[in-house]
């Protein structure tokens, strides 16, 4: 079995590792250049990142996304999902390609409009969970294929959960959602629209939320400790500020001669990038500048592996696929002793079948078209025949008429000739008698 094969390789590797010792180099070898090579390769390949935003409508999710990535993903012409009323929870994804300094990032934003908006919100987290699972499954299938030259990574790397700034604590919906999703994706809770709260209220609120998170044993994304002391200090500071209170805006306002992004109120301007006003810069630095790779790694190593082991355990433990999946996975587990070559044969056969099917379909279509054309031709032939017949009949009728006329004419002619003859005879007779008379007269 494929899995055993891999496991045996690992066992061999283990025996090799034991004898490793650190040796000192006696000259410059040059593999210190390795990170640069990795860097150049990855820059060429480009990066992918999938970010999911969850929260009730009206919490400023679209605005925050626009502010984070300094783009207008949701603008006036293409308003964010929250501008359209939804009756059920939908999961929508939008892709955007961002280029900066030669590095290109394919950013996918997954939005969940309708979350928590209905009167009855039971199971409104189900579409979200289904989406995350389906993306993990796609990756699992792609990973299990024999031919895996292109493996797009569409798994959700980070889920930003927006908490309404009530100032009290977490709502039952927040707790339920986070409890169900902390095993599947990196959850980062945020306090939305933080300019509603005064600094004291914000502190109390944060403490309350962290207390409740610990109470319910929710595992939010934890920043990894690094070996560098300075970095650790920074990380500890970030940890104290969790959950981050953010304000989003892309409107530029002038404050004291400086142009800043912020929100203009009659009593002042709340600046988005001011660390004393809100934690937006912390979020942005953390999400983009320092921990993006770590988020991807944790997704790959922890959440995805969780999913994978659960999935495969469910399949192999019974020998029958208990889950509702189709495709490679089913064949993978139930048919034992499948070597990669055999699988390749499978795939080829599949491909051939597909081609055959397409061929058959095309043939069908072709036949149908031919039939149609034939029918059309027949019809036009019949039509022509009919017309021909009609014309012939017309002709005959005319002929008959003509014949009739001729007959009549002949009759008349015969009559007339007969009459002429009679007249002539009469004339002859008359002349004869006259001659006779003349002769007779002469005698007198």
């Amino acid at each position: 079995m494929y899995m055993l094969y891999e496991a045996s390789i690992n066992r061999m590797r283990v025996s090799v590792c034991v004898s490793l010792k650190q040796r000192n180099l006696e000259g410059y070898v040059g593999f210190a250049n390795l990170p640069n090579q990795v860097y150049r390769k990855s820059v060429k390949r480009g990066f992918e990142f999938t970010l999911m935003v969850v929260g009730e409508s009206g919490l400023g999710k679209s605005t925050l996304i626009n502010s984070l990535f300094l783009t207008d993903l949701y603008s006036k012409d293409y308003p964010g999902p929250s501008q359209r009323i939804k009756k059920t929870v939908q999961v929508e994804q939008s892709k955007v390609l961002i280029k900066e300094g030669g590095v290109q990032l394919t950013l996918t934003i997954v939005d969940t409009p309708g979350f928590g908006d209905a009167v009855d919100n039971s199971n409104c987290w189900q579409p979200v969970i289904n989406y995350i699972d389906s993306k993990c499954e796609d990756f699992l299938n792609a990973e299990s294929r024999v031919n895996r030259r292109s493996m797009p990574d569409n798994r959700v790397h980070c889920c930003l959960y927006f908490i309404a700034p009530s100032g009290h604590g977490l709502k039952p919906l927040d707790i339920e959602f986070m409890k169900r999703l902390h095993d599947k994706v990196n959850v980062i809770p945020l306090i939305a629209k933080a300019d509603t709260l005064t600094p004291e209220e914000c502190q109390l609120f944060k403490k309350q939320i962290m207390k409740e998170i610990q109470e319910h044993k929710i595992k939010i994304y934890e920043f990894p400790d690094t070996e560098d002391d300075d970095d650790n200090k920074l990380i500890r500071k970030i940890k104290e500020k969790m959950p981050l209170a953010v304000v989003g805006s892309n409107v530029v306002i002038e404050v004291n001669g400086k142009k800043v992004r912020g929100r203009q109120y009659p009593w002042g301007v709340a600046e988005v990038e001011n660390g004393e006003h809100c934690d937006f810069t912390v979020l942005r630095n953390m999400l983009i500048r320092t921990h993006m790779q770590d988020l991807k790694d944790v997704t790959n190593n922890v959440h995805y592996e969780n999913y994978r082991s659960k999935k495969l355990a469910a399949v192999t433990c019974n020998g029958v696929d208990t889950s509702k999946t189709k495709g490679q996975l089913t064949k993978y587990g139930t048919i034992s002793g499948k070597y990669p070559l055999a699988q390749m044969e499978e795939e080829r056969r599949e491909h051939v079948m597909k081609m055959k099917k397409m061929e058959a379909e095309m043939e069908q279509v072709f036949e149908m078209k031919v039939k149609e054309k034939k029918q059309k031709l027949k019809d036009s032939e019949a039509e022509l025949e009919r017309r021909h017949e009609q014309m012939k009949r017309n002709l005959e009728a005319q002929y008959k008429e003509l014949e009739e006329k001729r007959r009549v004419f002949e009759e008349e002619k015969a009559n007339w000739e007969a009459q002429q003859r009679i007249l002539e005879q009469q004339k002859l007779d008359a002349s004869k008698t006259m001659e006779k008379n003349k002769k007779k007269g002469k005698i007198f």
């Binding site: 009206g58 908006d117 009167v119 700034p165 009290h168 709502k171 039952p172 109120y265 009593w267 002042g268």
Partner: protein
């Protein structure tokens, strides 16, 4: 007129419609003064209910409205209190006095409204409570020996807090208001208005008003109860400005040498009573200074009468026996 001494110098005239101009000062206008004295002695009741899901600043607003700590927020209500599993109705009464006038103010709070995952029928406990108060009053009225002054626990005004999402009304909001606008005076307000900038506020208000119109929700002051042109023009102005975008606070700060109620943020102080910052002052004037009595009257003459007619029709046989 003949017995009147002409020395008073007042002309006599007699309208054929029945009204007559007075020939001397009688003193009918002192009745206002008498009423005032009586009311001051007896005091009057006002029952206000606040509805909205938790964290919208209901308790703070009520405290700010009546400039005293009448809401449970101050009564040592610790934040450790869990959100109740069903909607509870908590009524707290206080007696406040101003200028010799005593008012027994009852604040009815509804914790747990809209906080659950499944909020189906969360308006039912509230509807039941309102009808129970009407029932109590009806029973007292129908008694053979009535009390001199029936205690009025009917809800005169229900302030409904709309969450400042900036987009639309939530489904729960429209459901609640649709079902209760015919049994109680509903005044919708936009809570925590300091979340939105002025433009966002205007847009949101317009959208909310349109939605309320489309759903056929008649909030107080209802158009059908305007009595005359003056009322109508006043109320029209108020209806145009509703729902009021309010901010509540019970802390005072120093601004330009004055002590004002407000909220202090890192970028400025939101003044609660400044009409440029929010519409709290408008709401307070409307609710307390001009329409308090009208709220009570509409509740008594219209909502209560509707309930009474319905009940008496149901129990027609009982009362006829």
């Amino acid at each position: 007129r003949a017995d009147r001494p002409h020395g008073h110098g007042l002309s006599s005239s007699h309208n054929s419609s029945g009204g007559s101009t007075l020939l001397g000062y009688i003193g009918i206008d002192t009745i206002i003064e008498q009423m005032r004295k009586k009311t001051m002695k007896t005091g009057f009741d006002f029952n206000i209910m606040v509805v909205g899901h938790s964290g919208l600043g209901k308790s703070t607003l009520v405290n700010t409205l009546f400039k005293s700590h009448v809401s449970r927020k101050s009564a040592g209500w610790a934040r450790d209190e869990k959100i109740p599993k069903t909607v509870e109705i908590k009524a707290v009464s206080h007696v406040i006095e101003e200028g010799g006038v005593k008012m027994k103010l009852t604040v009815v709070d509804t914790p747990g409204f809209g906080d659950q995952i499944n909020n189906d029928n969360c308006w039912e406990p509230i509807s039941k409570y309102i009808n129970e108060q009407y029932e109590k009053f009806l029973k007292e009225e129908v008694n053979i020996t009535r009390k001199k002054r029936i205690p009025d626990t009917r809800v005169h005004c229900c302030i409904y807090f709309i969450s400042p999402t900036g987009h639309f009304l939530r489904q729960l909001d429209t459901e609640f208001m649709k079902r209760l606008s015919h049994s109680v005076n509903i005044i919708p307000v936009i809570a925590k208005a300091d979340t939105m900038t002025l433009e966002e506020r205007q847009e949101f208000k317009q959208r909310v008003r349109k939605e309320l119109e489309v759903s056929g929700i008649e909030f107080y002051p209802q158009k059908e109860f305007d009595e005359d042109m003056e009322d109508k023009s006043d109320n029209d102005k108020i209806r145009e400005a509703m729902p009021f975008a309010v901010v509540g606070s019970d802390k005072e700060y120093q601004v330009n040498g004055k002590r004002v109620l407000g909220r202090k943020t890192a970028w400025g102080i939101v003044e609660v009573e400044n009409p440029n910052h929010c519409e709290f002052a408008q709401l307070r004037d409307f609710l307390i200074r001009s329409h308090l009595q009208d709220l009570k009257e509409v509740t008594h003459n219209i909502h209560y009468e509707t309930y009474r007619a319905k009940r008496l029709n149901e129990n027609g046989e009982y009362y006829n026996q």
